[in-house]
C-alpha cells in the first residue's frame, strides 16, 4: 500500500470538496446579488458585511425547517432523489485537474485515462435524481418537470459529447491532464494568440474549436437546467417543476446540486477549452509551491468567470419554448457538432 498516495488523495478530496461546497454556497449568494444588480435591485446585503454571511443564514434556515413528507409519495425514491441530484455533480469534479502540482503532488484527485467519458457517464446520472423526484412526488407538475428534464438532458447529451470529439482528435488522448498539457504547449484551444501565434494551422483550428466551445457551453447550460433551458423547473409553468413537493434540506440538496453541477460544468469547460490552470507567463508548480497555489487560483478564477457568464445569460434571456428547445438540440447543435468534427478532420489532414 502506498500510504503517501492515499494520504495525499484524502487530503485533496477533503480540500477540494470543502472548497467546492464553499464555492457553491457563494455561487448561490452571487446569483442573488448578480441578478439583483442586473435588475437594478440590491439583493441580500444585510447578513454580515455586504451580505457575505447570507449562505450561513440560508443553510440554517434549510436545516431548521420542518422535514415535511407529503402523504402520497413513493417514500424510498422520494428520499433517494435529492441525493442522486447532488452526488453525481460532486463526483464529476474528481477527474478535473484543478492545479498543476503542489509540493510535487499532482493537483487532480483521479487522473484516469478515460477522463471525459467518466465525466459524461457520471454527469448523465444526474438526470435520475430529477426523474425520480418527478416520479416519486406523485404529483402532476413535478411529473411534467421530470419528463421534460429527461428528454432535454438526453437530447443535449448528444451535442455535448459530439462537441468535445474535435478536441480529442487534436489531443489524441481522453485524459484531462493531457488536454491541459496540450493547451500549455500549443496555446489554449479557443485562443490561438497564446503561445506560438504565428502558426497558421493553429488559427485555422481555432475556428472549429470556437464552434465546439459555443455548442458545448450551450449544451452545458441545458444539462444544468440553467435559464434559457430551465423547462424542468419552470416556475411560471410548473410551479417549481420536479422539486415542487420537496421542502427544507431535501429541496436544499436539489438547489445546491444544481449549483454544483454548474461549477462542475464550468470546470470542464475551463479544462477543455480555456487552458485549465494555465495562464501565459506563470510557470507550473514544479518551480515552487507559490506557483502551484497561483495555478489553482487561476483555475478557480476562470471557473468563477464562467459561472458569472452563466448567471449573466440566465438573467438576460427568456426561456425557450419546448418545441424550440428540441428543434435547437436536434436540428442545429447536433448537426453543427457533426459538421464540426468533419471540419477538424479536414484541417488536421492538411496541417499534419
Amino acid at each position: 500500500m502506498d500510504y503517501f498516495f492515499i494520504g495525499t488523495s484524502l487530503l485533496k478530496i477533503a480540500g477540494l470538496l470543502g472548497f467546492v461546497l464553499l464555492l457553491m454556497n457563494y455561487a448561490v449568494y452571487a446569483e442573488r446579488r448578480v441578478s439583483a444588480l442586473m435588475q437594478d435591485r440590491l439583493g441580500p446585503n444585510r447578513v454580515g458585511f455586504a451580505g457575505l454571511l447570507q449562505p450561513l443564514a440560508d443553510a440554517g434556515k434549510f436545516l431548521l425547517k420542518e422535514q415535511f413528507t407529503p402523504g402520497q409519495v413513493n417514500t424510498f425514491y422520494y428520499f433517494l432523489a435529492p441525493c442522486l441530484a447532488m452526488i453525481p455533480a460532486v463526483i464529476t469534479i474528481s477527474v478535473i485537474p484543478f492545479g498543476s502540482t503542489l509540493f510535487g503532488v499532482p493537483m487532480v484527485i483521479a487522473d484516469i485515462n478515460v477522463g471525459i467519458l467518466f465525466v459524461f457517464a457520471i454527469a448523465s446520472l444526474g438526470v435520475y435524481g430529477i426523474v425520480l423526484a418527478g416520479w416519486a412526488s406523485n404529483s402532476k407538475y413535478p411529473f411534467l418537470g421530470g419528463v421534460r428534464s429527461s428528454s432535454q438532458m438526453i437530447s443535449y447529451e448528444l451535442s455535448l459529447a459530439l462537441a468535445v470529439i474535435p478536441i480529442f482528435m487534436l489531443v489524441g488522448n481522453l485524459r484531462l491532464t493531457s488536454v491541459v498539457r496540450y493547451q500549455i504547449d500549443h496555446g489554449w484551444l479557443i485562443a490561438p494568440f497564446i503561445g506560438d501565434w504565428t502558426n497558421l494551422g493553429k488559427w485555422l483550428l481555432a475556428i472549429p474549436m470556437f464552434i465546439s466551445f459555443v455548442v458545448f457551453l450551450i449544451a452545458i447550460l441545458a444539462e444544468t437546467n440553467r435559464l434559457p433551458f430551465d423547462l424542468p423547473e419552470a416556475e411560471q409553468e410548473l410551479a417549481g417543476g420536479y422539486h415542487t413537493e420537496y421542502a427544507s434540506m431535501k429541496f436544499g440538496l436539489f438547489f445546491l446540486g444544481e449549483y454544483i453541477a454548474m461549477i462542475a460544468g464550468s470546470a470542464i469547460i475551463v479544462t477543455l477549452f480555456l487552458g485549465g490552470w494555465h495562464f501565459p507567463g506563470i510557470p507550473d508548480g514544479s518551480h515552487g509551491w507559490l506557483f502551484g497555489l497561483i495555478n489553482i487560483t487561476v483555475f478557480f478564477t476562470k471557473v468563477c468567470a464562467l459561472i458569472f457568464l452563466f448567471m449573466w445569460v440566465r438573467w438576460t434571456l427568456p426561456r425557450f419554448r419546448w418545441d424550440q428547445l428540441m428543434r435547437l438540440g436536434w436540428l442545429f447543435f447536433f448537426e453543427i457538432a457533426l459538421v464540426n468534427i468533419l471540419l477538424v478532420a479536414i484541417i488536421l489532414m492538411f496541417i499534419r
Binding site: 448578480v34 444588480l37 442586473m38 437594478d40 449573466w312 445569460v313 434571456l317
Partner: protein, 176 residues
C-alpha cells in the same frame, strides 16, 4: 372565426438570434455596471434611509387624538368614529363631565379610547366623520409590538401621537 396571426419574416441575421442575444447581454451588463459603480440609485435602504420628510400632509398613518390650544382633549365621545370604523378598530367608553365643570356644556369626554392597530386599515373614515376634528391620521406608519395587547393604542398613546391641533370648530368655545 380563426384569426391568422401574421408572423414577421426574419432575415438570416435575425434568424441566427446570436446578435439579438449579444445585444441583450450588453443591456444587462450595462445595468450591472451602473449598479456596481453606484450610478443607478433606485433602492432606498429602509431603516437607515427614510422618506419621512417627504411624506405629504394628506398621508394616512396612525390615527391619533389631538388636544386644542387650551390643552383640552378635543374628543367629545360622540362615538361616530366607533360607529363608522369599517374594521371596528375603535372602542370608546364615554365619561360624563360634571355640571360644575367649566366645560359642562360639552357633556361627555372619552374615559377610554382604544384603537386596535392590528385591525386599523388606515382608511381615514374616523377623521372624515369626526364633527369635532378631534381625530387625525398622522404620519406614523411603523406601528410595532410584541403582543396583541401592545398593538392597542390607548388614550394616552393616541394623545401623545396626536399632539396639539390649532383649529376653529370648538363646541366648548366660550364664544359659541
Amino acid at each position: 372565426m380563426a384569426i391568422t396571426v401574421p408572423r414577421p419574416n426574419l432575415n438570416w441575421r435575425e434568424r441566427l438570434y446570436l446578435p439579438a442575444i449579444a445585444s441583450g447581454l450588453v443591456i444587462t451588463l450595462k445595468h450591472f455596471k451602473n449598479m456596481i459603480f453606484g450610478r443607478t440609485k433606485v433602492t432606498m435602504e429602509y431603516p437607515e434611509e427614510k422618506w419621512d420628510p417627504n411624506l405629504p400632509d394628506y398621508y394616512r398613518g396612525a390615527p391619533a387624538l389631538v388636544r386644542d390650544t387650551d390643552g383640552r382633549v378635543r374628543c367629545v365621545a360622540c362615538q361616530l368614529c366607533e360607529f363608522i370604523c369599517p374594521p371596528r378598530a375603535i372602542k370608546i367608553i364615554p365619561g360624563e363631565i360634571p355640571q360644575t365643570d367649566r366645560f359642562a356644556k360639552v357633556e361627555k369626554f372619552p374615559d377610554a379610547f382604544d384603537i386596535d392597530m392590528i385591525r386599523c386599515i388606515y382608511c381615514g373614515m374616523c377623521e372624515e366623520v369626526c364633527p369635532e376634528q378631534a381625530i387625525f391620521l398622522r404620519k406614523d406608519y411603523a406601528i410595532t409590538g410584541f403582543t396583541r395587547e401592545d398593538m392597542v393604542h390607548h388614550k394616552d398613546k393616541l394623545l401623545e401621537i396626536g399632539g396639539v391641533m390649532h383649529g376653529v370648530v370648538l363646541k366648548w368655545n366660550q364664544r359659541k
